[in-house]
């Protein structure tokens, strides 16, 4: 593969299989989502991997979509903020961010929420606020809503654990 040819890639985005023709290999996953697929929930902050506003899940893992070449992700499963809610029912992390005032202007919020979803599934933080803060350090909030964000992540984690217990029972 290579040499000026147009690239065709397959991605599953929020459960929907898509075949995407890329006319330029320079397209990042972030630009693909926002500019070509019009999924503008994922935000462009710094575009250099420093702010976390562009965080999405790739094959279930949180990454910075601004530093990923779309062509390189051929075959991957992508989850963006648009894919979290179940119809009108918010995802527990979304609901917890509202309940705990985990934002002010809201620009960093999709990235914060996707990062929190990733953090909870990684399962390395326990219920230690210091570990939550450390593992959320890739998401900057210039309004300074960190207190609410930490509380929201703790509550959503508890909520999701309870749901999992109920589902298992």
């Amino acid at each position: 593969m290579g040499y000026h040819m147009s690239l065709s890639i397959r991605l599953t985005i929020n459960g929907l299989k898509r075949e995407i023709a890329l006319d330029d290999p320079r397209v990042t996953l972030l630009d693909l989502l926002r500019e070509r697929l019009h999924l503008t929930g994922t935000k462009k902050g710094c575009d250099r991997g420093q702010c976390g506003a562009c965080t999405v899940l790739v094959d279930g893992r949180r990454i910075n979509s601004c530093l990923s070449l779309a062509a390189s992700l051929d075959g991957a499963e992508i989850t963006t903020i648009e894919g979290l809610a179940d119809g009108e029912d918010l995802h527990p992390v979304q609901a917890a961010f509202i309940a705990h005032d985990g934002f002010q202007c809201g620009y960093c919020t999709p990235g914060q929420i996707m990062s929190a979803v990733g953090l909870i599934s990684e399962g390395n933080a326990g219920d230690d606020p210091e570990r939550i803060r450390e593992l959320m350090s890739g998401n900057i909030c210039r309004c300074g809503a960190y207190q609410g964000i930490t509380e929201a992540v703790l509550e959503a984690q508890k909520d999701l654990a309870e749901r999992n217990r109920r589902d298992a029972a």
Binding site: G2, H4, T28, R61, I63, N64, L69, A71, S72, G118
Partner: protein
């Protein structure tokens, strides 16, 4: 970002063949390369995507107790691998002290070894930089250089190597396994990154087109598992490069030091192994005097390259403190703030 040809080889030999063409560069996760390409500091004509190469995403324990880690293993997968973290705790701690969770989920072992300096003048195309544009000069020499090198620098370049991961790797005698057009070879990680001298554009010992396919940590390194730490001083608590960092590991026997390993990060163009300081500790009683002497020896050759004389004293103190923490023992669980001097790990002596 400049235009480039995107090439996705299916095997290591295919990748090496594709990269033999001048102007080629390998792409793994891209967390460093895409950043450099967006700023224009890297302008490859051909991007060889190695993320699909088979067999490079495994952590493989060899019969002799050493471990082979594929170049495509993600930083987080390695750091959270139970057996790996128990066997080489300072490596896991260094990995978790680097970057952010998102970047660690993407960034690969090979990519970390190949990451470029974070010197602002290297990144800024309007600045003179011998590393980026040979012969253009070094604006860092008279610029903002408080975080630049204090060991191994030259008039041509005072940049530092930014990796955390590579610091304990150098301390533990890790080896990079390399594929190239002329076959396979091994390069100790300590010899992979080279000092600038008069040719700072020559950043590694790799020949053009050579590819790191895996990393091997020898079985002997496991002997330090009970007394191994990575300590990293940053200008903020998390998601920052080291001002100074140290990997310190001790092998204790009946209260005395049998063997010691010390390497420093953030102070030179390569992770800096302090071999003479290690030797000074062998057979010695583990006490503050011995650690202070080792720290003194580790920085004996250091000299400021600008407004950074403070880093020399800072590095001495961090060496002594990392040795003290190593003596206290590897923590049962990874500290909440890995490698942080502000960590709440019991036994940390904040005044050391």
């Amino acid at each position: 970002m400049n235009r480039f040809d995107y090439i996705r080889p299916a095997s290591v030999p295919e990748a090496v063949e594709a990269a033999a063409v001048p102007g080629s560069t390998y792409l793994a996760a891209g967390t460093n390369l895409l950043d450099l390409m967006k700023g224009g500091a890297a302008r490859p004509e051909r991007v060889i995507d190695i993320t699909r190469l088979p067999g490079l995403d495994r952590i493989e324990w060899l019969p002799d107790g050493s471990v082979r880690v594929g170049a495509l293993v993600r930083n987080s997968d390695l750091a959270y691998d139970d057996r790996f973290a128990r066997t080489f705790p300072a490596v896991a701690e260094a990995l978790l002290s680097g970057a952010s969770a998102q970047l660690r989920n993407a960034a690969t072992v090979g990519g970390n070894l190949m990451q470029r300096t974070r010197c602002a003048y290297f990144h800024d195309l309007a600045s003179a930089c011998n590393r980026r544009a040979p012969g253009s000069g070094c604006d860092a020499r008279e610029g903002e250089n408080r975080l630049h090198a204090v060991l191994g620098w030259s008039e041509h370049c005072i940049a530092t190597h930014p990796s955390d991961f590579c610091v304990p790797l150098v301390a533990l005698d890790a080896v990079a396994e390399v594929a190239g057009a002329h076959g396979a070879r091994e390069i100790p990680v300590d010899a992979l990154h080279v000092l600038p001298g008069a040719t700072p554009e020559q950043e590694t010992a790799l020949a053009p087109g050579e590819l790191i396919v895996s990393l091997r940590i020898p079985a002997e390194a496991a002997a330090f598992a009970r007394n191994a730490r990575y300590l990293k001083l940053r200008e903020r608590t998390s998601f920052a490069f080291a001002v100074v960092s140290v990997a310190a590991a001790l092998e204790m026997e009946a209260g005395a030091i049998r063997k010691a390993r010390i390497a420093l990060g953030g102070i030179a163009a390569k992770p800096w192994r302090a071999r003479e300081a290690e030797v000074s500790l062998e057979g010695a009683e583990a006490n503050p005097e011995a650690f202070a002497k080792a720290a003194e020896m580790a920085l004996a050759e250091a000299r400021p390259s600008g407004d950074n004389a403070f880093k020399i004293e800072l590095a001495r103190r961090i060496v002594a403190r990392a040795l003290t923490l190593a003596l206290d023992g590897t923590p049962e669980a990874m500290p909440a703030l890995p490698a942080s001097p502000f960590s709440t790990t019991p036994g940390a002596n904040h005044a050391a």
